[in-house]
Symmetry: C2
Subunit: 241 residues, 2 copies
């Protein structure tokens, strides 16, 4: 699968350098195609055609198909990571912060659907070694921050102390990513009505997660009804804004 690795003499496309406009066009087209059709199903001729250049020119900018793919992944992850971080600002409570994070994260996933699928695919198919690279170079920052927020919530007494912060962080990501992944299937279950309403989903899921990690779930007077098992029938309790 890996081609003969010529030592890249006179090859301009190094990892960090800025690309010429032609190279950037190629990269953009490739990102779209890889995301939409996957690695194997995307041909270099197709990329070239899409970018309006010759195939040989694509190989002029990128050493090989694989390197082009890596470059696409790199860029995609950079964007995705940056988008995640900016969800931090809002909210006084940690619960609110995480709530905002959930919403923003899912919104990002859905808005950048193709790239998201690309990244998720990369995570799923990653070998143990490849996983290490991804963990260290791509996801560490964002995930660390999430964990830090959870810890903050624990120290302030807002969250239970007996749970693993990383676990909650993982479950938060999990909630969104799996929703993103399974939408197309989920939508067709008759008893599922949130598949096409990400905002409602995120609210409900957040509610479910939080009342599992809040220190005092019984003390929530606002909705007032979480309490006692002896209560017969509760009128449909909505999670309101």
């Amino acid at each position: 699968m890996t081609p003969t690795q010529t030592p890249d003499i006179t090859h301009p496309a190094r990892s960090e350098e800025r690309l010429s406009s032609g190279g950037q066009a190629v990269l953009d087209v490739a990102a779209g195609l890889f995301a939409e059709k996957g690695y194997d199903a995307t041909s270099m001729s197709e990329v070239a055609r899409g970018a309006g250049v010759s195939k040989a020119n694509v190989f002029h900018h990128f050493r090989s198909k694989h390197q082009l793919y890596l470059e696409v992944i790199r860029e995609a992850c950079r964007d995705s990571s940056a988008a995640l971080r900016q969800g931090r600002v809002s909210g006084s409570t940690v619960t609110e912060q995480l709530s905002a994070f959930l919403a923003h994260h899912l919104d990002t996933l859905l808005r950048r659907e193709q790239v998201s699928r690309l990244v998720v695919r990369e995570v799923m198919e990653s070998s143990p070694e490849g996983g290490k690279e991804l963990a260290e170079q791509v996801f560490f920052e964002g995930f660390s921050e999430l964990v830090a927020i959870v810890r903050e919530g624990q120290e302030s007494g807002e969250f239970r102390r007996d749970l693993d912060p990383a676990l909650l962080a993982h479950l938060i990501i999990s909630t969104n990513v799996f929703f993103f992944q399974s939408r197309n299937v989920l939508r067709h279950f008759p008893f599922v009505d949130f598949a096409d309403d990400p905002r409602r989903f995120v609210k409900m899921a957040g509610d479910l997660l939080f009342h599992g990690c809040l220190t005092a779930p019984s003390a929530e007077a606002s909705s007032g009804t979480v309490g006692h098992p002896s209560l017969p029938v509760n009128p449909q309790e909505k999670v309101h804004d």
Copy 2:
């Protein structure tokens, strides 16, 4: 991508029929290869070689590469679905039932790693129409049952009545599937110590989910049901606000 659809005259490999031993061998090999390397990266010659037959013989048993793939998916899902259902038996409490389900489901995912990845991949890449097929023909039964269990828990007063049963069911699947998917990345985060301990993970995650959906999370005298919290800190201790 789809080849010319010849109307399958004299072609023995119909969907429901039992396969000859040769055909089954081909299918088994194909399942392994598709799961390991994906659709495109698996060649029919490879399948043939692996099964110890000629390539022409593979095409004798299966109309096309795509049909072979579908057959593999069908079988994989059948197994997976059956494995899910048998987790039902145990547990008097609904909480215990779901707990057992979580453990059994994740165990199945991990034990049949390749096939699981195949199915997950199929879900993720499914088009809206393909998703409908999957929902109706593959996952409906298992998912319905999960939802039914949750509903049961609500009616018995064990679970909050104000949450969507399908949402909890979805989150349960989500928890396991995303763990399964992200293991190779997760493992490399320094503050994550559950990535290689699925049983512990499932216990912790279950605890988190349940205390979010139990009606009376404050009245947790029953420490035996969910299992012991792994961290030696006080559970559910209301620290000050």
